[in-house]
């Protein structure tokens, strides 16, 4: 019965072909969309960019402090960090406040360039290297400008990537 109809009716053949093509297109599109959403390399690339943005901002924050707005600056330090580094900052805050109030310095930082050196997306750990220029202004004398190079470790938290370790990249340590 179907054979009789299809051979005798070209529009039906066209319709069946169209239906198969349409179903195929929908299936292919659906698979492609699903695959893209579960594409690990796309998620990894996004995580890398997030790490760099968070890392550069955090390093800049950690090198910026105005004695006249000390609480705001130190709150930002604490917001930029997690883990041991965060704990150290909280513990040492009172002593540090006294020190900066006495010195009355203003530090500003400009990130010149940064790169992600390692990223473990699953473990939520990453490393960044940042070149920056720090300007320290004391109540007397000319502002001191120094180029600085830093290495940071970041850890993923529920509020995004935060610094868990930060230090100057060693100079003259040829073992590295």
């Amino acid at each position: 019965m179907a054979r009789v109809r299809t051979t005798g009716n070209p529009p039906v053949v066209v319709a069946i072909v169209l239906a198969v093509v349409a179903a195929g297109a929908a299936g292919w599109g659906g698979w492609s969309r699903y695959d893209a959403a579960h594409d690990d390399s796309a998620a990894y690339a996004q995580a890398r960019d997030d790490v760099l943005a968070a890392g550069e901002q955090a390093v800049q924050n950690m090198n910026t402090l105005d004695h006249a707005r000390l609480d705001k600056g130190l709150d930002r330090w604490e917001d930029s960090t997690t883990g041991d580094l965060h704990a150290q900052l909280v513990d040492g805050r009172d002593a540090f406040v006294k020190q900066i109030r006495a010195a009355r310095t203003v530090s500003t930082a400009e990130v010149l360039s940064g790169a992600v050196t390692e990223l473990d997306d699953r473990a939520g750990r990453a490393g960044v290297m940042v070149a920056l220029r720090v300007t320290v202004t004391a109540p007397e004398g000319e502002p001191a400008v120094k180029e600085s190079r830093m290495l940071g470790q970041l850890t993923r938290t529920s509020q995004g990537w935060k610094l868990s370790a930060l230090g100057q990249a060693p100079v003259g340590n040829t073992a590295g």
Binding site: M1, V4, R5, G8, P11, A15, L18, A19, V21, A22, A23, G24, A25, A26, G27, W28, G29, G30, S32, R33, Y34, D35, A36, A37, D39, S41, A42, Y44, A45, Q46, R48, D49, L52, L112, S113, G114, A115, V116, T117, E118, L119, V128, M129, A131, E147, R149, L151, A169, P170, V171, G172, N173, T174, G176
Partner: protein, 205 residues
């Protein structure tokens, strides 16, 4: 339901015709495949066309969505996502910087030779302008410079172009004096030529 009933009015007409000609029972006639009634047939056709178009459109939309998700600015940058290429460019650039920024009074020719091979474009022009000075200084002051890339990271990587940040340690040794170490931070642009990364631009940070 009997065939006559499903066939409707047209079937009844054929049934009469067949019956009169061949004397066969009317039940067999619908096998000839009489078209269903006009109205219903049109409705089916419209429904089939619409659903085919909807399926096609859905497929097309999902396909473009998938493409959009895959081709973001983040995925276009292959730094770290392509570990092999990332390691390769870091290795090539680090070793190139160590070679062109290392020289001794007896060996400036080797450094110049390396520079011609490892640098290109703007970087080579800058280097050539600087090198005459370096050669004289090295000979006059018996100065030896040894550079080493202590850390390098790739900021941006595409098929044949890369941007890197390199932390360089530079040890200066003058005959009869203690060595001093200086830190340099360089932004480097490199291009892949003939399977090797050449440095085309260096900016001191």
């Amino acid at each position: 339901m009997t065939p006559q009933e499903t066939g409707g009015t047209t079937t009844t007409a054929t049934g009469i015709e067949a019956g009169t000609e061949a004397g066969e029972p009317a039940e067999e006639q619908p096998v000839a495949g009489e078209p269903p009634p006009r109205g219903r047939s049109n409705l089916l056709r419209v429904l089939a066309t619409v659903s085919a178009l909807v399926l096609l459109a859905t497929g097309g939309f999902l396909l473009s969505e998938g493409q959009r998700l895959r081709d973001t600015p983040a995925t276009a940058n292959r730094a770290l996502t392509d570990t092999e290429a990332t390691t390769r460019v870091i290795g090539d650039v680090s070793s190139a910087l160590a070679k062109v920024f290392s020289y001794s009074p007896h060996d400036t020719a080797a450094t110049e030779e390396a520079a011609k091979r490892l640098l290109a474009g703007e970087a080579l022009r800058q280097y050539a302008a600087l090198f005459g000075q370096v050669e004289r200084q090295s000979a006059d002051q018996k100065l030896t410079l040894t550079s080493q890339a202590v850390r390098a990271g790739v900021t941006r990587l595409s098929g044949d172009s890369a941007h890197l940040l390199v932390f360089l340690d530079q040890v200066y040794e003058r005959e009869g004096r203690a060595a001093t170490t200086a830190a340099a931070q360089l932004s480097v642009t490199a291009r892949l030529r003939g399977g090797h990364w050449q440095i085309v631009e260096i900016t001191s940070r």
